[in-house]
């Protein structure tokens, strides 16, 4: 298997779900996909293509929310990043944590940091933020105000 075969296979199999493919270099490929297809994509890459899930990274791109799911196919040294764009009024996507345990914690992290809902996640508790962190405040969003007038820390005490 080489990188081109794999990418052509993905293009054939998911041609309705792919909106753009950007081959940045020999080892990095970014594929823009629809949010509905993420579980099928992840299943194909993880189970059939033997890829490893590196991590996902959520970004607030101001007009929409973006999640990049990074998978690496170790045998051919190809890092595939699946890009999902979510509308800010509908921040929800299917969870991958039931497919493989490695996606469990990062989805919990994205949930509390960016406010994205992951449907079907087995254990959606807070991971990094403290228990007294207010509900509905997401620190990695662009509109997050760091200086909270009610926080003891920010009053200079």
């Amino acid at each position: 298997m080489n990188g081109n075969d794999l990418l052509n296979g993905i293009r054939d199999k998911f041609k309705d779900d792919i909106t753009n493919v950007f081959e940045k270099s020999e080892t990095r490929v970014y594929i823009d996909i629809t949010a509905e297809s993420i579980v099928r994509f992840a299943n194909y890459l993880f189970r059939d293509a033997g890829a490893r899930f590196n991590i996902a990274s959520g970004t607030d791109a101001r007009d929409h929310m973006e999640i990049l799911y990074h998978f690496i196919v170790e045998e051919i040294n190809l890092l595939i990043s699946l890009r999902v764009k979510l509308d800010k009024s509908k921040l929800e996507i299917q969870s991958l944590a039931n497919l493989f345990e490695g996606a469990n914690w990062i989805e919990r992290e994205m949930n509390e940091m960016l406010g994205i809902t992951f449907h079907g996640h087995p254990d959606m508790r807070r991971l990094l933020l403290s228990d007294d962190w207010p509900e509905g405040v997401y620190p990695l969003r662009c509109d997050y105000k760091e200086w909270d007038p009610n926080a003891i820390r920010d009053r200079g005490v």
Partner: protein, 394 residues
């Protein structure tokens, strides 16, 4: 039988991932485990968005005191991947030397503490004694025992003087006999076998499902090493072995780390002997808009950084994923069914941070304290003593 909740934690200030475990035990057996992290969450990703690309290198270096090379290494590679560009050959060699020096001292630190937990305080003394030699080497090369500040996007900040190389080579050679001795001691010791073999097994399939990294995955028979899979630095310039074992227990994780140190020493010696001449810095000016991913093999596994640039001098988004983030959840699979006296060494076997185990407290249902951290280590040491006397080994 009644169930008892055993809280371990909550936090220690060393690594970026302090943790609080809740073990549920029935008698001596662990039947459930849950982890809570985030006590030391410092918002480095958010902070990095406010710094310039150059300043971020220093912030990133301070994520972890032990991995103060791997984070800047992954970050600088992510920034270079935005172009994408390659750094000068000499810089690649210097980066490799620093990264391998870090691997040796990190594994020695782990080995010493693992020895202490198991009641082998001689191993603790020896491992930490030769770790000083490696820290001296790093001080000669970078000026610091830790937080080396050697990395910058596009190259390294500090050159290696040719006068220093013989001194450094001599120091590195001096630790090899002790490493060999430790290797033989671990592989031949029947007490250590009885204590760690078959304990805390992570199967190959579990390692794949948990996306385990580094020595944790290699001990379970998953051939996964970024230095081989996606070669970077000078790692594809020389021959070296990826250490893989099959069983996934604590013993195999011990063996993988010891054998890896010997490989790291060989890589360091090769790089120092074959250090090419030339520039050490590509003098990057402006970072173009785009995305970059850098991932390298840290002592504990793959460190992953993602950087998004919009053409200004600051990253728009900087994602940091440390290897322990993927390795930590594996004890959902390893610790259940084991005894409480093995809990410390299983939790320690993935090489998370250690201060946590100093803060362990065991309480019974009424909340009365039965054990604290030192007691748990003593419990673990006593078990080794018992096996020793049973076998008639002194």
């Amino acid at each position: 039988m009644g169930r008892t909740i055993v809280p371990i934690g909550p936090y220690h200030p060393l690594q970026e991932e302090p943790e609080f475990f809740t073990l549920t035990v029935e008698g001596e057996r662990v039947v459930g485990v849950d982890a809570r992290i985030g006590y030391n969450h410092r918002g480095i990703e958010k902070l990095s968005e406010r710094k310039t690309f150059d300043q971020s290198t220093f912030v990133i270096e301070r994520i972890c005191g032990i991995c103060s090379t791997s984070h800047p290494f992954a970050y600088t590679r992510a920034v270079e991947d935005v172009f994408p560009m390659e750094v000068p050959e000499r810089a690649k060699y210097i980066r490799t030397i620093v990264a391998e020096g870090e691997r040796v001292h990190s594994h020695l630190l782990w080995l010493g503490l693992a020895g202490h937990f198991l009641g082998y305080n001689t191993v603790f003394m020896w491992a930490w004694k030769i770790r000083e030699e490696i820290l001296d080497v790093m001080e000669i090369l970078s000026g610091n025992r830790n937080n080396y500040a050697m990395f910058k996007p596009g190259g390294v900040r500090r050159d290696i003087k040719s006068d220093d190389i013989p001194v450094v080579l001599k120091k590195i050679d001096s630790i090899v006999p002790t490493l060999e001795l430790l290797r033989k001691a671990v592989i031949d010791d029947p007490v250590l076998h009885a204590r760690t073999k078959g304990v805390g097994i992570l199967t190959k399939q579990e390692a794949i499902d948990f996306c385990a990294l580094g020595p944790t995955s290699r001990a379970s028979g998953v051939a996964r090493d970024i230095r081989k899979d996606s070669p970077y630095g000078a790692y594809n310039r020389m021959q070296w072995k990826m250490i893989i074992t099959e069983n996934g227990d604590v013993f195999d994780k011990l063996v993988v780390r010891i054998l890896e140190m010997l490989e790291s020493v060989r890589i360091m010696k090769y790089c120092l002997n074959e250090l090419p001449d030339g520039e050490i810095d590509a003098n990057l000016k402006d970072i173009p808009p785009g995305e970059g991913i850098g991932h390298i093999e840290a002592p504990r596994g793959e460190t992953f950084h993602y950087v998004k640039s919009d053409g200004t001098n600051r990253p728009v988004r900087h994602k940091v994923r440390a290897p322990t983030f993927m390795n930590l959840p594996t004890y959902k699979a390893t610790i259940v069914g084991e005894t409480i006296s093995d809990a410390t060494i299983i939790l320690a076997a993935i090489d998370p941070c250690y201060c946590c185990t100093e803060r362990v407290a065991v309480k019974n249902a009424k909340g009365k304290k039965i054990f604290d951290g030192e007691d748990l280590i003593k419990l673990s040491q006593r078990k080794t003593e018992k096996i020793r006397s049973k076998m008639g080994v002194k």
